[in-house]
C-alpha cells in the first residue's frame, strides 16, 4: 500500500460488489470487485464477502460506507427509503449499522416516491446523484441514469424532488431472450454499420411515437421476416427504439440545454445521440466516478 486506508467505499449491486480504499488525503489505496451481488448471496454471507474484498488492505474497525442493494429488504440489513423530496445532503442520516462484521460498516438508504399512482424506488442511484452534486456543485434540473432500470431524476437545491424509472435495459433483455423476437437475434452483437443503422431507425421511431412502444417492438420481427434484416440490425433497432421511447416519453422532463447522463460510456453515446435528435446535449458522467464521489460526500456527512 502506498498510503494507509482511512476508510472503504463500497457499491453493493444486484450482481456485483465493488470496494475502493481511500486514504485520509483522498487518494485511492486499493480497489477490488467480486460477483457477489445481493442476488447471489445469502444474508449471512455479507460479513465474509466484505472481509474478502478488503483483505489485508484495511485494519478491523476501519469505516466502510456502503450503498446499493445491501440495504434492500432482501439484502444485509434493510436501510429504509428516504421519502421524496429527499435531502441528499443528509443522506448518511438514514444509514443503518449492520452487525457481525469487524469493520465499522454503514449502509446508506435508498429513496422512494410514495405519491399515489406514481410510486417509485431507487437504491444506489441516490449516491450517484450525491456524487453529481459533488462533481457539479449547485446542479439543479433533470439527470438521467441509463441502465437496466433507467432513472430520470429531478433535483432542486440538493433534493430529489421526483423521479421515474424506465425498464429500458431489462426490457431489451427479456424481449431478446424470452419473447418471439428472440428468433431475430443471435448471440452477442458486435459493432458495425448494420447495428448503427438499426439504432438510428429505432431511435427515430421511438422518439416520434413513444405511445406505440408495444407495437413498434414487434417490427423487430416483421422487418426480419419481410425485409431480410439481420440480427445486428434487429439488435440495434430494439435498443435504439427502447432508448427513443424512454426519452420520447419523458421529453416533458427536459427543460435544460445539457443533461447529465450518469452511466457507462456506451449508454452515454447512445442516449447522447438520441438527445441530440431533439436538440438537447447529453453530458456523460462515468457511473463509477459518480458512485465514488457520492460515497466520499456521504462519508464527509458522517
Amino acid at each position: 500500500m502506498s498510503s494507509k486506508t482511512d476508510w472503504v467505499a463500497v457499491d453493493w449491486g444486484t450482481s456485483n460488489v465493488r470496494a475502493w480504499g481511500l486514504a485520509a488525503n483522498g487518494t485511492q489505496t486499493f480497489s477490488n470487485e467480486a460477483d457477489r451481488g445481493m442476488g447471489k448471496i445469502a444474508r449471512g454471507d455479507y460479513p465474509s464477502v466484505l472481509a474478502e474484498l478488503i483483505g489485508e488492505n484495511a485494519a478491523p474497525g476501519t469505516p466502510a460506507i456502503i450503498c446499493g442493494m445491501a440495504g434492500a429488504r432482501q439484502g444485509w440489513l434493510e436501510a429504509p427509503y428516504l421519502d421524496t423530496p429527499a435531502d441528499l445532503t443528509r443522506l448518511v442520516q438514514g444509514a443503518v449499522t449492520p452487525e457481525g462484521t469487524d469493520f465499522d460498516a454503514r449502509i446508506l438508504p435508498g429513496v422512494c416516491q410514495r405519491t399515489a399512482g406514481d410510486e417509485d424506488v431507487m437504491r444506489g442511484e441516490e449516491t450517484q446523484l450525491l456524487g453529481l452534486l459533488a462533481l457539479r456543485p449547485g446542479f439543479s434540473g433533470t439527470a438521467i441514469l441509463p441502465g437496466t432500470h433507467s432513472k430520470w431524476v429531478e433535483i432542486e437545491n440538493g433534493r430529489i424532488t421526483r423521479f421515474s424509472t424506465a425498464m429500458t435495459g431489462e426490457l431489451y433483455e427479456v424481449l431478446s431472450q424470452h419473447s418471439v423476437l428472440r428468433h431475430s437475434f443471435k448471440g452477442d452483437t458486435v459493432e458495425g454499420p448494420e447495428i448503427e443503422e438499426g439504432i438510428a431507425e429505432g431511435m427515430r421511431a421511438g422518439l416520434e411515437s413513444p405511445s406505440l412502444a408495444t407495437s413498434l417492438i414487434f417490427r423487430t420481427r416483421a422487418a426480419a421476416l419481410l425485409s431480410g434484416k439481420g440480427a445486428d440490425w434487429c439488435s440495434g433497432y430494439l435498443s435504439g427504439l427502447l432508448v427513443g421511447v424512454e426519452i420520447g416519453g419523458h421529453r416533458h422532463w427536459l427543460g435544460q440545454v445539457s443533461v447529465p447522463l450518469i452511466g457507462s460510456a456506451r449508454f452515454g453515446r447512445l442516449y447522447g445521440a438520441a438527445l441530440a435528435l431533439i436538440g438537447t446535449t447529453g453530458e456523460p458522467i462515468d457511473a463509477s466516478e459518480a458512485t465514488i464521489a457520492g460515497l466520499i460526500a456521504a462519508r464527509a456527512q458522517a
Copy 2:
C-alpha cells in the same frame, strides 16, 4: 356421424391445432383438437397430425382448408403473405397445396404490410377477418383482435388496408415470468376485488399515458414494495396497464362508435371496459366462431 363430412376446416396455431368437420348443408359433423401446434411439431409430422385429427370422420380425398401457422416458413409449407391492401374476398387464391397427405389440403396465406418503417405480419387473423365480413356483411372500419400479439386492422371494401400488432399478451407473459416484476406475482391468479382494482388502475394509467409504458410497468414493483399491493393487484394492474397502453396508443385508429373485438370472452370484457372509458363500445365476437366463419367463406371462394 349424423351427416357426411363434406370438408374439414382447420385452424393450425403455434401451440394447438383444431379441426371441424362440415357437412354439405353447413352443419358441423365433428370437432377435434390437439396440442400439436407449429411450435411443437416438425415439418414431416403435419400429415399424420391431420390424419389423427380427422380420424374416421372423413374419407381420403376430402378437402381440408387450413389457416394459421401451417403456412409459416417454419410450418408445413410456406404460403407466401398477401400484401396490403389485401383482398379478403380472394384469400383462397393465395393458398398453397402441401403434399404427403391423403386429404385434399390447402393452406391459406397470411397478410403482410411492407410499408417501410411499418412492416407487419399476420397469420390466422386474416381468416378471422374474412369471418367478420361473413358475420357482419359490409363491415368497414377498425377491428381489434386482442391476444398474445393483438392486431388492430383497418378494413375497407373487403380489403385489409393497414394493420398494427401490439405485443400486449406476450409482454405480460415475459414481464411476469422473466423480469424483476416476477417477484410481485405468484402462480395463477383468480378473480377477485383486488384484481379488478388493479385492472381499473392500470387501465386508466395506460390510456392516459401510453407514451410512458416502459416506466408505468415498473410501478407494479414499486407499488408492491411501498404500498403493500398483493400479487392479485399487481397481476390486474399489469394486464390493465398493457391493454390501456395498447388502446391509448391506437386511439387515432378509432373513428367509429362500435368496434368488433375478436377474441376470448375474457379479452372481450377487458378491452370492452377500456374502450368504454374512452367512449367507444366493444362488440365481442368469439374467436372460434370468426375462424370457422372465415374458413367457410374461404371454402366458398375455392
